[in-house]
């Protein structure tokens, strides 16, 4: 996204928002994972209200960006997929939050 010359300086941080985090569904996933150490697929589905397919595709995008780590473990014979934010993912979310905060704090009441 490019900013026009007329765009107020205060809005510039919005132009550099991380697109990977910015999508509403991914933002829900990242925000939830930010508060936790890790969660499995079902827990994330319940908390974000995303469908299995949606969650799966958004997690793939986040995994490609190296923002989440998806680890398959076995509890007995049952496979569990635990998902956690990587340090890069945490940093990306922190930065995204700061950028938004910066813009919104300068808005009039």
């Amino acid at each position: 996204m490019s900013t026009s010359r007329a765009a107020p300086e205060q809005l510039h941080p919005l132009a550099t928002l991380d697109r990977v985090v910015h999508s509403p569904a991914r933002l829900m996933i990242v925000t939830t994972l930010y508060t936790l150490e890790s969660a499995d697929f079902i827990f994330l589905m319940n908390l974000t209200d995303l469908t299995w397919g949606n969650l799966s595709s958004h997690l793939s995008v986040l995994e490609e960006a190296d923002y989440v780590e998806i680890e398959k473990t076995f509890k007995g014979k049952r496979a569990t997929t635990m998902i956690s934010l990587t340090p890069a993912g945490r940093e990306a979310f922190r930065e995204y939050r700061e950028q938004l905060q910066e813009v919104f704090e300068q808005l009039p009441e």
Binding site: T31, T32, Y34, T35, L36, E37, S38, A39, D40, F41, I42, F43, L44, M45, N46, L47, W52, L55, S56, L59, S60, E63, I70, K72, R78, A79, T80, T81, M82, I83, R97, L100, Q101, F104, E105
Partner: protein
């Protein structure tokens, strides 16, 4: 400061989600009934059982096992698995410490009661009951605070009031223990049952095609 992402609130909501199944309520309600168990057995005229601490301990173990089995086979398959962050783990550790101290106090009260049986003033007879009630109030309130389990504040009062109330009513009504423990324990069990039914309806088992599918 403007809070665009109230992460601590989101974490709280995620943690509270693990209490939506009503299993804690059912377990605590059953434990309260069990606390009055000896006296209830006596009121029901089941002689011999009241003397049998073994029966009460076995029931407690069965209840605890049922609690863990329910969490494993009802809650986790529907709600999923989650590991909370360092801050929450610290709160859980604090709760465990409070519970351990409460158990130690319980043992001390039990020993004190056993040693002072049949001797001493009326106050020393009432002291174990007072300690029991204060212990319940403190432990449940701290648990409610550390675990964000707000219903435990109410349960703190149920546990704390049950024993003194039953003793107060004992001289005025037959089956005081059944009435008091049944009432408080019953309310907790009803709350738990309603929550469990709602949980089962809101969180059906993910269909078999999702099992082990991963991301």
């Amino acid at each position: 400061m403007l809070q665009i992402f109230p992460v601590s609130e989101i974490e709280k909501k995620a943690f509270r989600a693990t209490f939506q199944d009503g299993i804690w309520d059912l377990y605590l309600g059953a434990m309260l009934l069990l606390l009055g168990g000896g006296a209830i057995f006596e009121e029901l005229g089941l002689s011999g059982i009241q003397e049998s601490m073994v029966a009460l301990i076995v029931t407690a173990v069965v209840l605890m096992s049922a609690f863990f089995l329910a969490k494993r086979f009802i809650t986790i398959p529907r709600m999923g698995r989650v590991k909370f962050g360092a801050e929450r783990k610290k709160k859980i550790r604090k709760t465990r410490l409070v519970l351990a101290m409460s158990a130690l106090l319980g043992v001390a009260v039990f020993i004190f009661t056993a040693l002072s049986k049949g001797q001493g003033s009326e106050f020393s007879a009432l002291l174990p009951i007072i300690l029991f009630s204060v212990n319940c109030l403190v432990v449940f309130s701290l648990g409610a605070y550390f675990l964000d389990y707000t219903r435990a504040y109410l349960y703190a009062w149920f546990f704390a009031l049950s024993m003194p109330l039953a003793i107060l009513l004992r001289d005025h009504t037959a089956h005081a223990f059944i009435i008091v423990f049944g009432f408080f324990g019953g309310i907790m069990i009803i709350i738990g049952a309603v929550l469990l039914i709602r949980f089962l309806r809101n969180y059906p088992l993910p269909s078999a095609r999702y099992e082990g599918n991963g991301a």
